[in-house]
């Protein structure tokens, strides 16, 4: 575990016992923002120095005020990277993200330790994401787990195909960008579900899905309908 020196721990009322890599909302730690950049219209990448170890695919909880319930974000950086990145959509009517979007380097926010069990156990697998649901797969890819993987990423806009250059070069031929509202050569026109329905079933031992519930449910239905055992479909839903 990396040094925790300099991290302020803020206990929240009703604290529970510590539970390792599981979410312990009773312990929020102050972290200092190193970057907070709008990387596509309405989509931000926020970074801070990595104070702990984590497993690719895990999440953290973030808030700016211990009285405001934290929101959960998948980590979008590699396990050995010096910075922890998260991706978030700005919801202008939201409680948290407008305040997150206003942060500048040097500002502080409160974060949990990493938690969650959305992991790729290795072997051939198919990663399917929409929007900022790409985050855990960015983490897995940056942590070196791309062999035998197929990534299908859907977005409404071309700009929303986050880290497209990174995935194009790293997963040549095994990266399928999909876009519903804009066209560009090399980008499938439509949703990931449309691509999946039009293709032979990818040769994968498991399917990892990350995105909103509608995408997850639709994709899972397609996969199960095509004979994939439901035990081979692992989903992480943003809520």
């Amino acid at each position: 575990m990396a040094s925790n020196r300099g991290i302020r721990v803020i206990p929240v009322r009703g604290s529970t016992e510590r539970n390792g890599h599981r979410l312990d909302p009773s312990r929020l730690e102050t972290v200092r923002v190193t970057a907070n950049t709008e990387i596509a219209p309405g989509i931000y990448r926020l970074s801070f120095a990595r104070p702990w170890d984590f497993v690719a695919g895990q999440s953290i909880a973030l808030t700016l005020d211990p009285r405001v319930p934290p929101r959960f974000y998948s980590i979008a950086s590699g396990t050995a990277d010096p910075l922890v990145d998260v991706l978030y959509d700005l919801f202008r009517e939201g409680v948290l993200t407008p305040r997150l979007a206003a942060l500048v380097p040097g500002d502080e926010l409160l974060g949990s330790r990493p938690f969650g069990a959305f992991r790729d156990a290795g072997g051939p697998s198919c990663w399917i994401a929409t929007g900022t649901g790409i985050a855990p797969f960015v983490s897995m890819a940056r942590s070196g787990s791309t062999e035998g993987k197929l990534l299908i990423h859907g977005s409404r806009s071309i700009a929303g195909l986050l880290d497209r250059g990174f995935f194009s070069s790293l997963m040549d031929g095994r990266y399928v960008p999909c876009c519903t509202r804009e066209k560009e050569p090399g980008v499938f026109e439509g949703r990931p579900t449309a691509w999946l329905s039009a293709q032979p079933l990818p040769a994968a031992e498991r399917f990892l899905l990350c995105g909103n519930s509608g995408m997850v449910v639709d994709t899972r239905d397609i996969l199960i309908g095509r004979g994939v055992p439901f035990a081979d479909v692992i989903a992480e839903i943003y809520f």
Partner: protein
């Protein structure tokens, strides 16, 4: 657009009263008219000054929305559809029994949680219901006078709509509202731990946790929330805030044929629930279209119940109701949504 005061807590009604030039205590008078007497017209609120009634009517309303459709099962269970935003529908179920009548409420239009066995999740998430929309299902129920119990087990995850659920519970239980006993109300959750903590601290209502398998890896396949709030964390939280007094915790367990009904599951259930004063409700699965899961037979459910009882767990088989009226939660509203789309209504 006028603000509908149905679903307003006393604190909000106090503000409304002050806004209309009334003393703050008039908020309680408003509550008495709206919740105690069921009055929806400000002109009928005769103990308020006429000027205040006019001012209130200009800015506020008290509106009930009756169900747009009802279906009745041969066993007496009724399902009601209530219109929701965006041309969608939410369901409420009326379940009469010999000595009690239970109302099952919805809290969201659709659901975000994506559980494999749930029809509501197939609709995706559309919107949270306001406290008023939640209460409306109770107030507009034709059988309201016969309601003895209320369960928040319809469409949506109650603790994902925490503020509105807590407001509706306050109004149902408060003396300024309907004065129901919290021991007559059960709120279900799949285990959103931070919200569960708030719920346990701020209400005395019963809690029902959707469990469905004691094995985390298996639960992850059925319920994606397991990735975020593992069952062990949920149980640890319950142990920490052990349910005291009249509060009861139950675990909902849909029995799927050959999946979660084995002796191994019974043993593990007994192990993980050891020390928690609880009941396990075994529930028959109402199959939904395209599901890879199958319902266990009554005989298998009884065998599993016996396995649990042998290990000291209080286990009941919940009577299956309304099978002929699309009992699976979300099925009726989904069909209605599809029908409305086909008719070009939306």
């Amino acid at each position: 657009m006028k603000e509908n005061l149905l679903g307003s807590t006393l604190a909000r009604l106090d503000e409304v009263a002050a806004d209309a030039g009334l003393p703050r205590y008039a908020g309680r008078q408003l509550a008495d008219w709206i919740y105690g007497k069921g009055v929806t017209g400000f002109e009928d609120m005769s103990n308020l000054p006429r000027e205040a009634r006019i001012a209130l009517a200009e800015r506020y309303s008290v509106e009930l929305s009756p169900p747009v459709k009802g279906t009745e099962s041969a066993d007496g269970t009724k399902k009601y559809l209530f219109a929701a935003a965006g041309g969608r529908f939410v369901e409420a179920a009326w379940i009469p029994e010999e000595h009690r009548g239970t109302l099952c409420l919805s809290v969201q239009v659709g659901c975000k949680m994506g559980c494999l066995f749930c029809m509501t999740g197939r609709q995706g998430f559309q919107a949270h219901l306001s406290a008023g929309e939640i209460l409306n299902q109770y107030l507009s129920l034709p059988e309201r006078a016969r309601v003895t119990n209320i369960v928040y087990m319809g469409m949506g995850e109650p603790l994902d709509n925490l503020a509105n659920v807590l407001a509706s519970l306050e109004i149902l239980c408060a003396d300024y509202g309907f004065g129901l006993s919290p021991t007559r109300i059960t709120v279900s959750t799949i285990g959103l731990v931070p919200a569960m903590r708030v719920f346990l601290d701020s209400t005395k209502c019963h809690l029902a946790v959707s469990l469905h398998t004691p094995f985390e890896e298996e639960r992850r396949r059925l319920m994606p929330i397991e990735n975020v709030h593992p069952l062990s964390e949920v149980l640890a939280e319950l142990r920490t805030r052990m349910v005291r007094g009249q509060r009861r915790v139950s675990f909902e367990y849909i029995v799927f044929d050959g999946l979660n009904d084995t002796p191994r599951h019974a043993r593990e259930l007994a192990r993980i629930l050891d020390g928690i004063r609880c009941r396990v409700n075994l529930i028959a699965f109402h199959a939904i279209p395209g599901t890879p899961l199958a319902p266990a037979s009554r005989e298998k459910m009884e065998q599993f119940q016996a396995l649990l009882r042998d290990r000291g767990l209080l286990a009941t088989i919940r009577q299956s109701r309304g099978q002929d009226i699309e009992a699976a939660c979300g099925l009726l509203s989904t069909r209605e949504l599809v029908r409305a789309r086909e008719d070009g209504d939306t």
